[in-house]
Amino acid sequence: MPVRAVSRGELAPGILRGGLALVALLTMAAGDASNGRAIIANRQLSACLLCHTGPFPDPHLQGNLAPSLAGAGSRLTEAALRQRLIAPDPDSIMPSYAATAGLHRVGKQWAGKPVLTPQQIDDVVAFLVTLRAP
């Protein structure tokens, strides 16, 4: 899993609020949280906000098919968040963001490609852990 230094400036504001969050981030694979936020906010790229709500602009354009992303970092560990992106519960509507196999009739344009790259998944996870319950 790619690990790289994260500068203070790259961290989303909430991340330094609690020492715990900082420790958690430093001890685990670090993605780029601000890029993770941008990936989620980019509907065309990640499609997250079609199903999830969360602390993002335009709440009226967000879906309610899945739990809110707000507070995700408090409800789930970093490992559990990563698991949901890579190997979600097969009974849920959540697609795997890493899978390239086990899918049916994937369009030519998308065949053999995951929804997000491993680095992008790291970035999204790095951002999600910063979403703490108030």
């Binding site: 509907r43 499609a47 906000l49 079609l50 199903c51 335009d58 009226h60 354009l61 967000q62 879906g63 309610n64 098919l65 009974d91 509507i93 697609p95 795997s96 899978a99 899918l103 049916h104 009739r105 994937v106 369009g107 030519k108 344009q109 998308w110 490609k113 929804v115």
Partner: protein, 248 residues
């Protein structure tokens, strides 16, 4: 399964086809419903009038028009759209109304095929569909293609790995990107979509959904499209034909 049961009850997910049928009309905004309700303001009637003109327009070497065989559409086509798709006697396969009109054109009139989604094709389908407006969909469900269509409807597909059923059976009424998910009934086609700023067929709509989940769409005249259209019509049995419907 035991472990899942409480969850299923809690979320009322995987509910199967809707019992309480809601037309897309019921989920549209008041403004969109008003647009459909007024024939003078429903843009679908631009295509209906095109179809009406086509109906008596001779085509092909025989110089035959639709009217040459079928006479007055307001009489002969009454109720027809409510019975389609049906199982074609010659091929023993599901036949959609769009395809039947296309076949009439190429086989009976021996005229040049109408391109799919052309104004002429949509117009004829809209004009024929209008003759069943207000009549309940009543498609013959006694054939194996219905089950085949249902399987397709419930098959997850595409890079986003979603089935039609996951949204339109299990989550109808919830919001996808801020828009209400309708139950997904075929009772208004061809219909005018604000999204398209034009009239379009059920084929076009299904293709949109499939491309949306990043899947390879079934070809327009494929057995899969026909089976899916058949299942959708059976699933919507009793809903009134609204052609030309207006939808967001």
């Amino acid at each position: 399964m035991k472990r899942l049961l409480p969850l299923l009850l809690l979320c009322s997910i995987a509910a199967g086809p809707p019992v309480d049928l809601r037309s897309g009309y019921d989920d549209a905004s008041a403004e969109t419903r008003a647009m459909q309700d007024d024939d003078g303001g429903n843009p679908g009637f631009l295509w209906v009038r095109e179809g009406e003109a086509q109906w008596s327009q001779p085509a092909g070497p025989l110089g035959k028009s639709c009217a040459s065989c079928h006479g007055d559409a307001t009489v002969s086509m009454r109720g027809v759209a409510a019975r389609y798709p049906l199982i074609d006697k010659a091929t023993n396969r599901p036949m959609t109304l769009d395809r039947r009109i296309g076949e009439c054109r190429t086989d009976r009139q021996q005229a040049e095929a109408l391109p799919p989604e052309s104004d002429a094709a949509l117009g004829l389908a809209a004009y024929v569909g209008l003759q069943s407006r207000g009549m309940p969909l009543n498609v013959d469900a006694d054939n194996p293609f219905v089950a085949a269509g249902r399987r397709l409807f419930e098959t997850r597909m595409g890079q986003l790995n979603l089935s039609c059923a996951q949204c339109h059976d299990d989550r109808a009424g919830m919001k996808l990107a801020g828009a209400v998910i309708p139950q997904g009934h075929p009772n208004g086609y061809p219909e005018y979509r604000l999204e398209w700023q034009a009239m379009g067929s059920l084929n076009r709509r299904l293709r949109n959904c499939m491309v949306g989940v990043r899947a390879e769409p079934f070809p327009p005249d494929s057995p899969e499209m026909a089976a899916l259209a058949l299942y959708l019509a059976v699933r919507a049995k009793g809903l009134k034909v609204e052609t030309p419907a207006v939808r967001p």
